[in-house]
Assembly symmetry: C2
């Protein structure tokens, strides 16, 4: 982002909406082309995720929830890596300079930047004739060598997830008028809960330190629990057995499954959960659960890491293997 | 970017095309959600710039030149800040998984990543129904506190630029069939030079160390020399007097100006130069020029920083002030 001399509409946009968010001294109040991340020998963890209008959010979504989602999907990655947020840079591809959209977008982004202690460091604002897109690269700090990777899961580790799984996929279905929308036609409270889970992820940064202390491997669940577990297992050279009945569901999701309106596998492969998926040695499970309790976040054991190279198995309450039609969301 | 288990088209795309570029150990061969930038107490310099199809490049541009431009516009920022490249993350918004486009794109990106010692650390690949977009956040290292900012220019400093100014704007005009295309209809060599300057910036990273040693303020010229100088002066609280006749022009550009086919002010306000603009104390000018000579890059004094808050003035050979119709490219 450039500076505030008002030589262009781009600069005045940045000065008006984004300069107030650039509270970190390394951001130089956005008057430079670059920002500085100070380091005292910690490792800097870098992650990047983009959200595209019509793909990751709906054009009709409120600008504030779009901003929060764009930042939070990145904060979720930092949480899974055990990193403390340090800041982010923003690329904003806009069709027009629409103040009615930009003001709530920037206000909400600023609130989240403050709430998660992850200040705006810089960025780039470009025009696009096509769908709007927000790309964020976020930075975190971990003590040297302590980033939690995907490769450390060991046979015998328990598989744990935070929060509840599948709500966001149901929320999207509600917004799109799918089966969940019809099934919940008379339950606006349930619809609202699910839509909020789709629009505003709740990244578990409050558990980052505990993940670093307890987990042998971790990632966030962004493309669907089933597919993301495949990735974690493959990276670690292990497999897993998951008890589908123990996968934590919200009350609205559990109700839909119990009434037969939604199949459990749609929840296991649905995207946008932004919960944490961890492999945790048995001896550390209680610590992670306790850290979750202290933070008000459920942490649930859903299965076990087992030896082998085959895909993880999802078993129903009777021990029968669930055949999942698809594992996760893919862009291509 | 996620891993290589081929659970999705996205993952196979990443494994096939981008994993070979992820040579830095901190990239974890793209099998994680995050990368690590090691630091031994240096400052990490962060910059981000995006290129959008139809805005920053043409859909008809070769994929390889698009890749190089996307990375090089960021490398140019690192050079201007006096930083040594450390790596980058890539967000790629694609309409489709088109191997005929992706292979040359990734090959060229890999060549530049190697050539500039700036490895791919991670990224995100998303689908878009609209124009393609490549957003890169690049990282560099400087000794603590040594990033070259925009705010340090002092009255008496000389204003220096690298390379030649205005070629890229002319190259774009050639591609779009504008006045430059008509004037050069019979000079394909000149057209090729200008188009290459538009498509493939030549970032001056080879001079980053000298800029750190010599310049009191610096930025890269990306939106037009005139407008970018306004920004540098405003950030430093100074003004400048520029001798337009001393602004370095390539042979094709100088020919177009001499024959009256193009006005000098179009070159001074044209974008996409990706040269360095530096304020340099008189005593250090010779050092920067010598560093340029050693690296094969012209470094030219074009004016002087003067006290005051008014906009920099561009004077013609007779000392008359040029009135620029516009200062720079703006997206909004």
């Amino acid at each position: 982002m450039a500076n505030a001399t008002n030589v262009s509409g781009e600069d005045s946009l940045i000065a008006r909406y984004f300069k107030p968010l650039a509270t970190d001294p390394g951001a130089f109040a956005l008057v430079d082309d670059a920002a500085i991340l100070k380091s005292s020998g910690e490792d800097i963890v870098v992650t990047t995720d983009a959200v595209v209008e019509g793909v990751h959010y709906l054009a009709s979504d409120p600008p504030g929830t779009i901003a929060r989602k764009a930042l939070r999907v990145n904060l979720s990655d930092l949480a899974a890596k055990g990193a403390t947020p340090a800041g982010f840079v923003l690329t904003l591809a806009l069709r027009s300079k629409d103040d009615a959209w930009l003001k709530p977008f920037a206000d909400a982004l600023g609130e989240d930047a403050k709430g998660f202690a992850c200040p705006l460091l810089g960025g780039d604002t470009v025009s696009t004739p096509g769908p709007q897109m927000i790309s964020i690269a976020a930075f975190g700090r971990v003590p040297s060598g302590r980033m939690v990777g995907r490769t450390g899961a060991k046979a015998g580790d328990r598989v744990m997830v935070t929060g509840t799984i599948g709500d966001a996929a149901l929320g999207l279905e509600v917004l799109k008028g799918g089966a969940a929308a019809k099934a919940l036609a008379s339950d606006s409270a349930a619809r609202d809960i699910l839509v909020a889970r789709y629009r505003i992820p709740q990244p578990r940064n409050v558990l980052a330190h505990a993940v670093r202390d307890c987990a042998s491997a971790a990632m966030d669940v962004s493309d669907g629990l089933a597919g993301d577990l495949v990735k974690l297992c493959a990276a670690s050279g292990v497999s897993a057995a998951i008890d589908a009945a123990s996968v934590p569901l919200s009350a609205p999701a559990a109700g839909l499954v119990a009434r037969g309106d939604v199949r459990i596998d749609a929840l296991l492969s649905g995207g946008d959960d932004y919960e944490l998926l961890c492999a945790v040695p048995e001896a550390r499970c209680a610590d992670l659960i306790e850290a979750g309790r202290a933070a008000g976040v459920a942490v649930t054991v859903v299965g076990t890491i087992v030896p082998g190279n085959e895909a993880p198995r999802f078993l129903d309450g009777a021990g029968r293997e669930l055949v999942l039609k698809r594992l996760s969301y893919s862009h291509f």
